[in-house]
């Protein structure tokens, strides 16, 4: 397949790995921001091809993981209503709220539907005029154009029985938050390639300048991730801290201006609570006042819900790169993808779930990391 298989070439991967080995002279801690990148790294074992003094820690970029428990409970309260058709990406169905998950609610009779795209909800709304169709609009900036377009088109077409429950999160404030932490260990970032496809990378330039850390906007295939790592360690070894773009085949400095225009018409920046991390100022999107009729939180007046996370879970530390999944005593024991205790185990792209899926919880795999901790 074009633009996919070429970036999984083993011979080129080995050249890149060799070049990384030649370039590195000191220990560096790097963070890949996206859950999709984490998944690729663990799936292909890329971290194990790197020199021992390069440590990859895993970032907060899994929107399913960081959607707050309060928001999930709100989704469940809305989805339980008999007058609602609740639509969601498939990833959210199994994420446990305080009491259950969406699949359990569906088995109890709630009308819950998995959609491929938020735009599909408009068809469902037109076909069910006596129902209220609600879409669970989670995601990073990558997903914002789709969610914004659904609202924009609903408004343009006069569709009134459609609303979205918005839990959008933004990458740059989360990176700044990680760098501001007194416990921060991260010295360079593999930046979020698909987020930047939409947003461009101008907003990362002040971060590199302020914190003096390099950021390389990076894709998701093995060669992308290895090349991004090479570019990042070259910057670190040379004492540079710049934004570089490994993923130039789809990422432009200004992103997609048409998408940005619709996002900015429909959404505005707001404070957002991240599961496992807490509230980060100006780290989310909410609907603008002009689109308040499409705001499910307003339409259904869901009250603040009191929630409690398991005390054992260290997902907040994992999401900020301070701990690794196997530093947690519950990892692979009390906490598995079937019985997740917290954010990083609830989605396949969470660092803990990725480690579990590729056998990193098995004892025979652990010693390779023992040297590094």
């Amino acid at each position: 397949m074009k633009f996919l298989d070429e970036y999984r070439d083993q011979a080129l991967a080995q050249k890149l790995v060799a070049e990384i080995h030649r370039t590195v002279t000191r220990p560096w801690v790097l963070m890949e921001v996206c859950g999709g990148q984490t998944h690729s790294i663990v799936k292909y074992g890329l971290d194990r091809l790197l020199p021992n003094n390069i440590e990859l820690v895993h970032g907060p970029g899994c929107p399913v993981c960081v959607t707050s428990l309060e928001m999930i409970d709100k989704a469940h309260a809305i989805a339980s209503r008999p007058d609602v058709i609740f639509c969601s990406f498939g990833d959210m169905l199994r994420v446990p709220g305080s009491k259950q998950d969406l699949l359990v609610l569906k088995s109890h009779g709630a009308d819950i539907r998995v959609v491929y795209s938020p735009i599909d909800c408009l068809k469902i709304a037109r076909a069910n005029p006596d129902k209220k169709v609600v879409f669970f609009a989670i995601g990073f900036e990558t997903t914002a154009p789709a969610n914004a377009m659904a609202v924009w088109q609903a408004s343009r077409q006069g569709i009134r029985n459609f609303s979205i429950l918005v839990s959008h999160v933004l990458v740059p404030p989360s990176i700044a938050s990680i760098l501001q932490s007194p416990h921060n260990r991260v010295q360079g970032f593999l930046g979020p390639g698909h987020v930047c496809t939409v947003m461009g990378y101008r907003e990362y330039e002040p971060i590199t300048a302020r914190f003096e850390v390099p950021i390389v906007i990076t894709g998701f295939e093995p060669l992308d991730l290895l090349q991004g790592t090479l570019m990042l360690v070259r910057q670190l070894e040379e004492g540079r801290a710049e934004v570089e773009n490994q993923y130039a085949r789809v990422v432009k400095r200004d992103g997609n201006p048409i998408a940005l225009n619709i996002i900015n018409k429909v959404f505005e920046v707001c404070d957002r609570k991240w599961r496992g991390v807490g509230s980060i100022p100006k780290s989310g999107y909410k609907l603008r006042y002009d689109f308040r009729d499409y705001d499910a939180e307003r339409a259904f007046e869901v009250k603040e819900i009191d929630t409690k996370e398991p005390a054992l879970c260290i997902s907040g530390l994992v999401l900020r790169g301070i701990k690794k999944p196997h530093d947690c005593p519950a990892f692979g024991r009390e906490c598995t993808p079937e019985t997740p205790l917290g954010a990083t185990m609830v989605s396949a792209e969470g660092a803990c779930a990725a480690y579990y899926a590729y056998g990193r919880h098995l004892k025979t795999e652990v010693p390779e990391y023992a040297d590094q901790h």
Binding site: L49, V64, M149
Partner: protein, 93 residues
């Protein structure tokens, strides 16, 4: 979740409500895509698709340039390739 994959545009046609839509072929799987964000896309272009929305055309010239840079990596480097490199093939999917 931020998964986006390249597909080849094989059809462009507005839907009943006037939204610019099309179909893209992802290695044999054909899906509907919204083309509102890349109005310049033409049949045969590769587009990067996320949750049914084409977010950007894949820049074939940039892709070729990057790939060539990878292929041109210092050949001498292979002599220093450390033994710890995993011999397993990377193409598992």
């Amino acid at each position: 979740m931020c998964l986006a994959i390249p597909g080849k545009l094989i059809e462009i046609a507005p839907d009943a409500s006037g939204i610019r839509m099309g179909k893209a072929n992802f290695a044999g799987i054909v899906k509907q895509v919204c083309l509102e964000y890349i109005p310049e896309a033409q049949l045969g272009d590769f587009v990067l698709v996320h949750v049914g929305f084409a977010l950007q055309k894949v820049d074939e010239a940039e892709a070729a340039r990057t790939y060539q840079a990878l292929a041109d990596l210092d050949q001498l480097g292979e002599l220093n390739t450390p033994e710890s490199i995993d011999p397993q093939p990377l193409t598992t999917s």
